[in-house]
């Protein structure tokens, strides 16, 4: 798939020497500390700045003062950001490994548009107006499209190309539907244009609780898939010879990706690019081993997402820019820089 890969690429498949493993573990720890810093920043920074002692007070000695309430609100938002970030990063990594396509992201399998089409239906035909009302529709749409893509992609003998084609095809048809509704129904357009950019601003504990079970199952499932996905990377025949269950791995990967993206999209709208970019960045220093890619992606994606959210709050204070816009505005140049600077590590 990538033509200009140097010959030493094959060296990566040999087991990592202990030293390299130590470095990678340390890197994981550092990433985690960065995540903690971003979490604190996400609670402290906003239209009203919170000094750190106030953050501490709000988190651990909540007495219901004004500051404590603000911290509480920001805490839900931050929590949702972390969850959604983990979900998008893991889903992207799993999808790229599953389809053996470095361009695979939740958008490719039609999951974003499935959710969007369901939400626009909810607004236009069922008169749903609240975010907590959208969530189920969005999740339902994502799940149905995910299942349909898998069915059309050939269930038992799904190939990467087939899955991608089925996703693209369904997306196209759904996009036509989405636009038809938005053109004929101004009220739906008015809601959708804010929903489709993706935002954490309206996060509520209620929303988090609605999607949490799906996210947890998806995360556990995705992390458990590291070994079979490693085997699948060698090609179907080799994977089979190594004892991997191809069909089961594909079905579970699709299920994990659908759960993760569906829940994430339902909670805060389609956030593009995190799932595409983070696994690329991670792969450039971990190599192709999914056992490292998945944890790194799970930690660095929320760093990107929350970081973008914080930036969005700073640049347009006291208003804010939606996180989906910032992730793309920051992410795209970084992505292009990576594409230019080095070969993207092979899948």
């Amino acid at each position: 798939m990538l033509v200009d890969s140097p010959p030493e690429a094959s060296a990566e498949t040999t087991p990592a020497p202990p030293k390299r493993r130590a470095i990678r573990s340390a890197g994981l720890l550092v990433s985690f500390c960065v995540l903690l810093l971003v979490v604190v920043a996400s609670i402290a920074v906003g239209a009203k700045q919170m000094p750190l002692d106030q953050v501490w007070h709000g988190l651990f000695q909540d007495t219901g003062t004004y500051g404590d309430v603000v911290v509480g609100e920001r805490l839900s938002r931050t929590l949702l950001g972390v969850l959604v970030g983990v979900a998008l990063g893991l889903a992207g990594a799993v999808l790229q490994a599953l389809t053996r396509n470095p361009l695979a992201d939740p958008g490719l399998l039609g999951i974003n548009l499935g959710a969007s089409a369901a939400v626009v239906t909810a607004i236009s035909f069922f008169g749903v107006t609240s975010l907590s009302g959208y969530v189920w529709f969005a999740f339902f749409g994502a799940a149905v499209v995910g299942a349909a893509v898998y069915a059309l992609g050939g269930t038992r003998n799904a190939t990467p190309i087939r899955l991608a084609l089925a996703g693209t095809a369904l997306s196209a048809a759904l996009y036509g539907y989405l636009q038809a509704v938005m053109i004929t129904d101004n009220a739906a357009l008015n809601k959708m244009r804010f929903w489709t950019v993706g935002s954490l601003a309206s996060a509520k504990n209620e929303t988090i609780l609605q999607v949490l079970p799906f996210l947890v199952i998806g995360i556990v499932l995705a992390l458990g898939l590291a070994r079979p996905l490693n085997a699948m990377a060698m090609g179907d025949d080799t994977a089979r010879a190594l004892g991997a269950h191809l069909n089961r791995t594909r079905a579970l990967s699709m299920a994990a990706a659908t759960l993760l993206c569906g829940a994430a999209t339902a909670a805060c709208g389609p956030i593009m690019f995190v799932g595409l970019m983070v696994p690329h960045v991670v792969r450039s220093f971990t190599g192709p081993d999914m056992r490292w890619i998945l944890p790194y992606a799970a930690i660095l994606s929320p760093v990107l997402l929350l970081g973008a959210d914080v930036v969005g709050r700073i640049v347009a204070r006291p208003a804010e820019l939606q996180v989906g816009i910032i992730t793309a505005l920051i992410g795209a140049p970084v992505f292009i820089f990576l594409v230019r600077r080095r070969r993207l590590a092979q899948l």
Partner: protein, 342 residues
């Protein structure tokens, strides 16, 4: 494939099947155009349409046809042709059937230009078209410059295009949230791609552009075909690799941007027309001419379908091309699976 020799010792190849396909597509485009001209709130029988087009109609029909419907159909034909040709060039250069202008972000770039005119300046239709043209050209140039690194490599080109596309999409989303609802509604109609209310002002610039670019592109069709075998083979066969790519990519960007300025980013024509054409001609290579006529036919048929199915000017043509494109891809998937090719 047939070799034709003249007395003077000249010879050229004629691919019979391709020639037949091109002829059939031209006829289909013309027939569809005549039918489309007759379709609308005021129905005109096909015979009357033909007679009026030949200059012998009565005054009322002449007004409706020559001033209202003919320019719309001509814009449709030209836009379809430009998108089909642009798509074929991009897919050939990126060596990827998904490397069409919609996915590389040219449509998004045009949209950004148009949105800036609509949302920030409440611009007129001409200003919006100008904004779209500039947006498309700037985006095309940006992708080329960003993907340049001792030559433009197909895969890097697609990846950079996707990156630029994501960036511009974010800008578009931001502009849409900043617009008031009237502007937003106007923007969404424009973003879908529509032929409603197009007149001679849109026809002439497109026609001039196509008249210049189509012959230019055709002279590079042969080098393009050889480039599909890879840069090294291309050099060995004496193809001026970078010049070919720059000329063709520049032409494709211009064609796509001009088409988008005239009708909005009509989705999927650039992606499907080359694929369909290739399936009909069954010949390898870029299939530039068949793709061009296929694009024109597709767009006119889609416009006719949108008018018949939803009533005149209810839903723009872009909705139909999107849905039809999706159904086509699904059909392709099922067929290819049965044949065991993918």
């Amino acid at each position: 494939m047939k070799a034709i020799r003249t007395r003077g010792g000249l010879s050229f190849r004629l691919d019979v099947r391709t020639a037949v396909v091109v002829a059939v597509l031209i006829v289909a485009a013309l027939v569809a155009s005549v039918v489309l001209i007759g379709t609308g709130d005021f129905y005109i029988p096909t015979a009357d349409v033909v007679r009026t087009l030949l200059g012998n109609g009565d005054a009322g029909q002449e007004f409706i046809i020559n001033d209202l419907r003919l320019p719309r159909v001509l814009v449709g034909l030209l836009v379809g042709a430009a998108l089909g040709l642009g798509g074929a060039i991009f897919q050939s250069i990126s060596r990827n059937p998904l490397g069409s202008p919609d996915i590389l972000g040219l449509g998004q770039g045009s949209t950004a230009g148009a949105l800036i005119m609509i949302v920030l300046f409440q611009g007129s239709a001409v200003q919006v078209a100008g904004g779209a043209l500039v947006g498309g050209l700037v985006t095309g140039f940006a992708i080329y410059v960003l993907a340049w690194k001792r030559g433009v490599h197909g895969f890097r080109f697609v990846l950079v295009g996707i990156g630029v596309s994501a960036f511009v999409t974010a800008v578009n989303g931001y502009l849409l949230t900043k617009a008031d609802i009237v502007d937003a509604a106007r923007a969404v109609v424009w973003m879908t791609g529509s032929l409603n209310g197009r007149d001679w002002e849109q026809v002439w610039p497109l026609l001039v552009l196509c008249a210049i670019l189509v012959p230019l592109v055709m002279t590079y069709a042969r080098p393009l075909r050889m480039l599909e075998m890879g840069d090294d083979v291309g050099y060995a066969l004496g193809v001026p690799v970078e010049r070919t790519r720059i000329v063709l990519m520049g032409s494709a960007v211009l064609l796509t941007a001009a088409a988008t300025a005239a009708a909005g980013p009509v989705s999927f024509v650039a992606l499907t027309a080359p694929q369909l054409a290739r399936r009909l001609t069954r010949s390898p290579g870029p299939n530039l001419l068949p793709a061009m006529f296929m694009g024109a036919t597709l767009l006119i048929v889609a416009d006719w379908a949108s008018q018949r199915a939803f009533g005149a000017d209810q839903l723009p043509v872009g909705v139909v091309t999107g849905v039809l494109g999706g159904i086509y891809l699904l059909w392709l998937l099922v067929i290819e699976r049965k044949a065991g090719r993918i």
